[in-house]
Subunit: 211 residues, 2 copies
DNA sequence: ACGATAAGTATACTTGGTGTACTCATCGTC
DNA sequence: GACGATGAGTACACCAAGTATACTTATCGT
């Protein structure tokens, strides 16, 4: 186990400096009111360096989401052997709600809230976030294939698509409620009920409602 | 019923001239190898005019998809009263497959194929296409609410999300098969089976497979 | 200490998209 | 059939995201 050298530590610091400068400016003035040149200035690096760390302006914000794109797949992959993929995801979402994990959309820490507001009302950010989400579908498809090799690829893909779409819709619904002023505390029971409902729809289909 | 005046006809012509110039150039050289300035030149209009007709470069290609955004919602809205929303969508997809409708991904007309190839291997185009798809979800959510007012908004939204995601995945799977060289004729039975499977998953859920 | 390697910079460029002020064609009305 | 209002189209200058090139400087392994 080698320590990270000076070079690595400096890279980390530069990364953080740029990211923080960007977020601060974005939160103060709005995403489109701040140019990357201003951010580079504030972080005391050249524009070229900035783009070496963050390939696009959007990534300055969404960088923090990237770690989470494979989360669904990871949950399925790490489940205990007797647990089904859906059961694992279900339990994980419920735990996330109880913990007020940002991923579930039920965190009302001010910083998290402003962050989500930024994303939701900047179209280019929402759009690029969806790009990431799509990669999550690929990962989950793969995880489902591993979990149940008997099912064919298309089935796994369809199921993964449904799961991601539903969980995403659920989280977004929670965000919007919180952005409207409801506290996480107050919304918790409703969010829990919505989750149960969503998993019921996933598991048993929508024929009962719309078939 | 008034005839379209000269002004309107000229607008139509300009629109077509720009669109055709763009598609030709894109198919010949690739989306990122052609600048909007070149397209404006080829269409003999100013850059400013081009952007009056097509708000972004991507829209030069995706303009033709816009008409189809609300298609799912329209199908649900126009169904006969005794038919359920899902049944209407199901029948419509099967009819589309039989007709080789481009929307279903089962058309192997060369022009349609090159068109889809262009979209699939240009990330910015795929991305913007997904933006449109999302608007389709909104429309379908609304249509489902009208169809079954007893269900709450979140349920409708979740169901709509699932439907759109699944049908999209189906179409994309068909495209890829056709782009790999299989004829629409040869793929038809498989595509039909996949559709039945997909609707079964939608209607009855995925608990049997992954629960 | 030293040479390889990689981080960072300065500068100029391309290109998508917008703002402004203008010309010119079409339209409805008299 | 001329006439003023309206809106399509143009020319030109501009902004900002991202890239290419050629360079300097800091860290690393030997």
């Amino acid at each position: 186990m080698t320590e990270p050298g000076l070079r690595e530590r400096k890279k980390l610091r530069t990364h953080r400096a740029i990211s923080e400068a960007a977020i601060n400016l974005f939160l103060s003035f709005g995403f489109d009111k701040v140019s990357v040149a201003q951010i580079a200035d504030a972080a005391e690096v050249s524009k070229r360096t900035l783009f070496k760390y963050f390939p696009t302006k959007e990534d300055l914000v969404l960088d923090r989401f990237i770690d989470h794109i494979d989360e669904y797949a990871a949950v399925v992959g790490a489940r205990s052997p007797e647990q089904s993929p859906l059961a694992a995801l279900h339990a994980w979402v419920l735990a996330g709600l109880a913990d007020r994990t940002p991923t579930t959309g039920l965190s009302d820490h001010p910083s998290v809230l402003t962050f989500y507001r930024l994303v939701l009302d900047t179209p280019s950010l929402s759009s690029r976030l969806r790009d990431y989400t799509l990669r999550g579908v690929d990962a989950l498809t793969e995880a489902l294939r591993v979990a149940k090799p008997a099912e064919d690829e298309l089935t796994a893909r369809i199921a993964a698509t449904q799961v991601v779409a539903v969980l995403q819709a659920l989280a977004e619904s929670n965000w919007r409620t919180l952005l409207n002023g409801t506290s996480a505390e107050a919304h918790y029971p409703t969010a829990k009920r919505a989750t149960e409902r969503a998993f019921a729809l996933l598991e048993n289909g929508i024929a009962e409602q719309y078939g």
